[in-house]
Amino acid sequence: MKANPSRPKIQQGGSSTKKKTGTRQQNVESSILVVGDDSLVAEYSAVISAHHFQLLSPEKIKSLKAFAKKVSLAIELSNLNLEQKKKNLILLDAALPATTAILSSSVTVSVLEQTEWITLKHRLAGIAALPSLLQNSLVEVAPSVHTLEATMEVVKKFFASLGKEIAIVQDRAGLVLPRILCQIINEAMFAVQTSVASPGDIDTAMKLGTNYPLGPIEWGEKIGFDQVHATLDALFNDMHEERYRACPLLKQLAVTGKFWSK
């Protein structure tokens, strides 16, 4: 999974880069390190190990120096606590060889803003990591202006080996689907809060009336209301638009976790 095994930097330039990334060979020895929000780490770890990759336990990030050479790819999946995300990325960037790519969720902060926290900006690429989405067949990937082609090659090969197609989108907090989905869930929450209908009836109506695969309330429960709330909060802070203001009921559920009335 290495972008470029023998050189100290991921090389600039298209054609030579491609040649180098083609020479990866040490999958057996190498491992993937996944850190971040518990629900996302669990989901990513399950899919990754099901595809016969070695996984390092997330705690290894604390003693990363000893394992750094074994890490072929690092994945940072914090959406909820950006301070923790920053700490994780700084640790990864300091310890991992310059040729090792880092994938990072950019649902609640853009990749470009994340590159401000690290030194080797070219190795970072963003993904739309929101709980439950990895069950489906496509992953959104967002390069920043610093991301090198060699890094993207690593990302493409990695998801191809998980059997996923990718869509490359512009680097904006929330990317595409998290932004649409969290807005729908938020609107459903406003409808519950103002007693327009019961949560169950809202789920039924959206599934039968517009063919949604899941009702917005049950979807919110599956993703985690804390994750939905964090996504909306990030969009609101990014754009300062009323439409991204999180419903107060959603904010409460982000703390309590469950939908008590169901």
Partner: protein, 282 residues
């Protein structure tokens, strides 16, 4: 006990409701102002029923029996003994209010008066009647014989008994009902707004293209259709009108603000599949 249902308006929605009600043992009085409008409505019902027979959803005998239960009516007064009268005329508040005033005067005092409106307040329509407790929203979805949902809308004065009878009717005609308190867009048209609105913003901001957003929503989200192909199917003009209506009814709450791209497409005649041009070419 088989119900006697009156339907006012033999267009797409009225005919669809008549089809489903008649197929589920209701006697249907189908009203419109001209014989030929009703005839066209019944032709549509017949064609849709034939498809049902072909797909073996029901027998030819059941189809024939259903068609026999539909009675063409060109006088509103003939609807006086119906258990439920469902209004399915054009989405024009003045036309609907005028009709409900007449129905309120004609119909037996136990008759429920229902509106199939998707964009007006049930309370507002009921305000012109003397017995607003018997007015309810029955919001069916197009095509009625294929879409299983009915939003049962409770206006400010709608009685519990009216709601209970409306729910019972939905069950009798094989529909799943949900209860909604009268509010802009009810459930579906309101909660679905960001699916389109946010997609239009993403497109406008250059985050991804029409094709890519549709592909992402389908393959990453598990939706059957992406927002742009769905807008093309529904009609960009129809979708824009719903958005505009919800926005207006919420007194221009910014969450519902329509997007200029959509308005421009409507004005340039790119309405989707029906004009062969929309977000895609057909």
């Amino acid at each position: 006990m088989s119900l006697h249902i009156g339907i006012v308006g033999a267009g797409t929605m009225g005919a669809g409701i008549a089809h489903v009600a008649a197929l589920h043992q209701c006697t249907v009085s189908l009203y419109d102002i001209h014989d030929d409008i009703i005839r066209r409505g019944i032709e549509r019902i017949t064609a849709d029923l034939k498809k049902g027979v072909e797909k073996q959803k029901f027998s030819e005998e059941e189809m024939t029996a259903a068609l026999k239960r539909i009675r063409p009516r060109t006088s509103l007064a003939d609807l006086d003994t119906c258990d439920i009268i469902i209004e399915a005329v054009i989405e024009d508040l003045l036309v609907k209010k005028d009709l409900f005033k007449k129905l309120d005067a004609i119909a037996h005092h136990t008759t429920i008066l229902a509106t199939n409106t998707s964009s007006f307040s049930v309370t507002s329509i009921a305000s012109v009647t003397k017995k607003p407790h018997r007015i309810v929203g029955l919001h069916f979805f197009n095509p009625v014989h294929l879409m299983n949902l009915v939003e049962v809308v409770r206006g400010e004065h709608t009685s519990e008994e009216t709601i209970a009878r409306a729910l019972e009717f939905c069950q009798q005609i094989g529909k799943t009902s949900v209860k909604v308190n009268d509010s802009p867009g009810f459930i579906v048209n309101r909660v679905a707004r960001p699916f389109y609105g946010e997609a239009l913003r993403l497109l406008d901001e250059g985050v991804a293209s029409v094709e890519e957003i549709d592909r992402i929503v389908r393959s990453e989200g598990g939706f059957k259709m992406g927002p742009f192909e769905l807008m093309d199917l529904i009609g960009v003009d129809v979708n824009f009108a719903v958005t505009q209506s919800v926005y207006d009814q919420f007194f221009h709450d910014l969450r519902y603000r329509p997007h200029p791209i959509q308005k421009q497409m409507v004005e340039s005649g790119k309405l989707g599949r029906k004009t062969k041009k929309g977000f895609y070419n057909y």
